[in-house]
Amino acid sequence: MPRIPLLHRRDLVCQQAVELVTSYLEGTLSRAGRRRFEAHLANCPHCSEYLAQMRTTIELTGRITPEDLPPHMQDEFVALYRRWQAGRDNAGPGRG
């Protein structure tokens, strides 16, 4: 039975690599850290897929569009603005 070659002491294992994905994407790994991470990916299709999945996750999250303001709330803000302006006008000469 083939033995898995002993890992170089500084090599990453998958369990470590998945924890570095965000730092990698954020560009906050040291140069050496980045090299180690990329060296691991080059030999590990599973972690490469994992990284692709994280990118997909970010991409799909980015497609969640913020809800538009419902019309009744828009009216409330118009009222808020008018109250504020009325208060300012009553308070005396504005700053123009």
Partner: protein, 210 residues
């Protein structure tokens, strides 16, 4: 007006538009105020929701914030983007409302990105991820998944939800998020990592068979 993209290259355009609206608001244009509210309200509301126990209180915080904006509009010097400024006010208001004061985030307890049982003793994948990253980009499936992702966001711990929302939905930079939430770069990254990792797990249960 349709949704504009808030991300990356669009950020500069976004800022220009804010500047125009701000100038109009200073000149007393009511519609400029409404337009600004429409642009920023949902991000503000989502952020406030992370601090207060009910949607009603979150809406109050956001309304108070807009009132503070109207009162302080001449004090805004444009050193930060308008959005960062607005979101900072929301956070300060929500916090000083005394509803949940937590400046620093406990990041000590480890919360692995992937269930440890999926690795063997050496730390290599024992149960590797199914391949779906590519397939998930498919428009139809992506649309179907949006609702699931939205509810998964709601289930994230509040701090993770805030960071993921601001970064990945609203498109703020890491620096802006730190400034808005008053957290360190390191905390921001940990929260982002945990939040995104959880969302990936949710997608995995949708797309993968693992």
């Amino acid at each position: 007006m349709r949704q504009y993209s808030k991300r990356h290259a669009a950020a500069a355009v976004h800022q220009d538009k804010d500047d125009d609206l701000l100038a109009a608001l200073r000149a007393g244009d009511e519609q400029a105020f409404v337009a600004l509210v429409r642009r920023h309200h949902s991000a503000m509301l989502r952020l406030a929701t992370g601090y207060v126990p009910s949607a009603a209180i979150a809406e109050e915080v956001v309304q108070d914030t807009w009132l503070a904006v109207l009162r302080g509009i001449s004090g805004f010097e444009g050193r930060s983007t308008l959005r960062t400024w607005l979101l900072r006010i929301v956070v300060n208001r929500a916090r000083t409302a005394g509803l949940r004061e937590r400046r620093t985030v406990a990041v000590a307890d480890p919360e692995p990105a992937v269930d440890p049982s999926r690795f063997d003793a050496s730390g290599a994948w024992a149960s590797p991820p199914e391949r779906w990253a590519q397939e998930a980009q498919d428009r139809l499936r992506a649309a179907a998944i949006a609702a699931r992702l939205r509810s998964a966001m709601g289930e994230l711990p509040a701090r993770q939800r805030e960071v993921v929302t601001l970064r990945d939905v609203e498109g703020l930079s890491s620096g802006e998020v730190c400034s808005v939430l008053d957290i360190s770069e390191g905390n921001q990254r940990v929260l982002l990592h945990r939040g995104r990792s959880r969302l990936r797990q949710v997608l995995e249960t949708e797309f993968g068979r693992t």
